[in-house]
């Protein structure tokens, strides 16, 4: 087993700051933004991005979570998963620009499930995708709008994101 760290704490912080600036740039400001994290680790990342956006723009930006367990297409191939809470901020998502936040983008199936979940919750004006790590190997035509780091990987390598809110430390590692 050989694992190497590709992002340290400071790298993660810088990446999230850059992503936040890019979101504001592409949206021309903070108006009508809703940041929704995909459990588990997308949720603390979304919270941080929301806080950074508020810092930079001076305007509070709604943050929430959208759980995709019920919409997955691979449920029957894995042990039963307990769903996580879905929290849509007051004001909903109708007519707004939703930015989905996840820690690792891989096959794209989680994002497809998230799009299905959003469809049952409301009708956003647009949906964007921010991911801390893009490791390639897409199985669906899904592409991210905002990426922390592109990380080429072999299919059988494991990419792990650890955050202080969930794991107590901050790092991104890749190993076999």
């Amino acid at each position: 087993m050989s694992t190497r760290t590709v992002l340290h704490e400071a790298d993660i912080a810088r990446a999230l700051t850059r992503i936040s600036h890019e979101i504001l740039e592409s949206n021309r400001g903070p108006a009508e933004l809703v940041i929704l994290g995909i459990p588990r680790r997308g949720v603390p990342l979304a919270a941080r991005i929301g806080a950074l956006l508020a810092d930079i723009s001076g305007v509070p930006v709604p943050v929430g979570a959208v759980d995709v367990t019920m919409y997955r297409d691979d449920l029957h191939r894995n042990p039963t998963r307990a769903p996580q809470p879905t929290e849509i901020p007051v004001g909903g998502i109708d007519g707004r620009t939703v930015v989905l936040v996840d820690d690792v983008l891989f096959s794209g199936r989680s994002i497809r499930a998230a799009l299905d979940a959003l469809q049952d919750i409301g009708r956003p004006a647009a949906v964007r995708l921010a991911t801390l790590i893009d490791r390639g190997h897409r199985e669906l035509p899904i592409r991210p709008d905002f990426v922390g780091k592109n990380l080429p990987s072999a299919r059988d390598e494991r990419v792990n994101v650890r955050l202080r809110e969930t794991d107590g430390i901050e790092e991104v590692t890749i190993g076999s």
Binding site: D67, T69, M70, Y71, L75, H76, R77, N78, P79, T80, R81, A82, P83, Q84, P85, T86, D116, Q119, D120, I121, G122
Partner: protein
């Protein structure tokens, strides 16, 4: 979870898992689109040997909200001499591709026989068997109590320290039995109140206190009072002399309602005999959780179906069977 046959076999962990997943299911019922695609392509069969529109509709709604296909099978006559045998019925359903069978049957133990016979490979959910068990009712009752007392903080909470008193025909009640086991597992203290003729002859092994006096039980200040339906046919088998006497002694009338602590709630599995075991005033008061129980029933049954059908099928026994 392979089958859900009773609550006696549910561990605290398994019970809380069902209740917490039911929270998520309940949350989806406030959205614009109240349906989830999770069980798309799965077939749930409602195999009801006893008439029960309410429970059947509840399971049907639960299955459909998870996008499962529902087949309703009403089978009259369960004994060999009267109609098709349980075995033949079960194997017909298997051949039709049932993934889960929700069975309500007049014979205690029928779901157990179905689940262990080897006749079918589908998961079995007990929707009420004879006087033995009604696990989803107990789960929705526990969910309701939890929600009323802990609100938005319900997730992960058990019922430790809560006092629940169950009143009525315990002898013939599968709802009472399933509640006794589940409430105790979740840490609640359970008291049973009934005329002596309607308490089983030997409940010494049950983790409950038994009282014959409802006023004494109410004076103790229970957090939740669960009124059971009294079947009027019991009168002819001499379990109690008259409706009037039963209602006077064990009915929740206005005076008893007023004697309950301010925050206490009143549950009833339905259908109610207004004026018999529960007065109209009690049934319609803000303390009454009857309608919430119905709504929660759908969420709880969605959770049960999800946990039964949405993982890989594991052959070994695990939490909750």
């Amino acid at each position: 979870m392979r089958h859900l046959l009773d609550t006696k076999g549910l561990t605290r962990t398994a019970a809380l898992r069902i209740l917490d997943v039911a929270e998520d299911m309940a949350a989806t019922q406030h959205r614009e689109v109240r349906k989830l695609p999770t069980l798309r392509g799965k077939t749930v069969v409602n195999l009801f040997f006893e008439d029960s529109t309410r429970t059947r509709i509840s399971f049907e709604a639960a299955a459909k909200r998870l996008s499962a296909d529902v087949i309703n099978f009403s089978a009259k006559g369960s004994s060999v001499s009267k109609g098709e045998s349980l075995q033949d019925t079960a194997q017909t359903l298997q051949a039709m591709g049932a993934d889960a069978v929700v069975i309500r049957h007049g014979a205690s133990g029928a779901p157990h026989t179905l689940a262990t016979s080897g006749w079918i490979s589908a998961g079995v959910v007990n929707a009420g068997d004879g006087t033995h068990a009604h696990p989803t009712q107990a789960l929705l009752d526990a969910f309701t109590v939890r929600k009323r007392f802990f609100g938005d903080d319900s997730r992960g909470h058990d019922l430790a320290g809560l006092r629940v008193t169950i009143v009525g025909d315990v002898l013939h009640s599968r709802v009472a039995r399933s509640n006794v086991w589940l409430l105790t597992t979740l840490g609640a203290e359970v008291t049973l109140v009934a005329p002596p003729t309607l308490v089983p002859q030997d409940v010494s092994a049950w983790p409950v206190r038994v009282l014959y006096d409802l006023d004494e039980a109410i004076a103790d200040g229970p957090d939740a009072l669960m009124m059971l339906r009294i079947q009027l046919e019991r009168m002819s088998a001499a379990y109690f002399p008259t409706e009037r006497e039963y209602s006077r002694t064990w009915g929740l009338d206005a005076a008893r309602l007023a004697a309950l602590p301010a925050d206490s709630i009143v549950l009833h599995p339905g259908p109610m005999n207004r004026g018999m075991e529960i007065s109209a005033a009690a049934a319609d008061s803000p303390r009454s959780t009857v309608l919430e129980q119905v709504a929660n029933g759908v969420s709880v049954r969605m959770a049960v179906l999800y946990l039964l059908l949405a993982g890989e099928r594991i052959e070994a026994e695990e939490d909750g069977r």
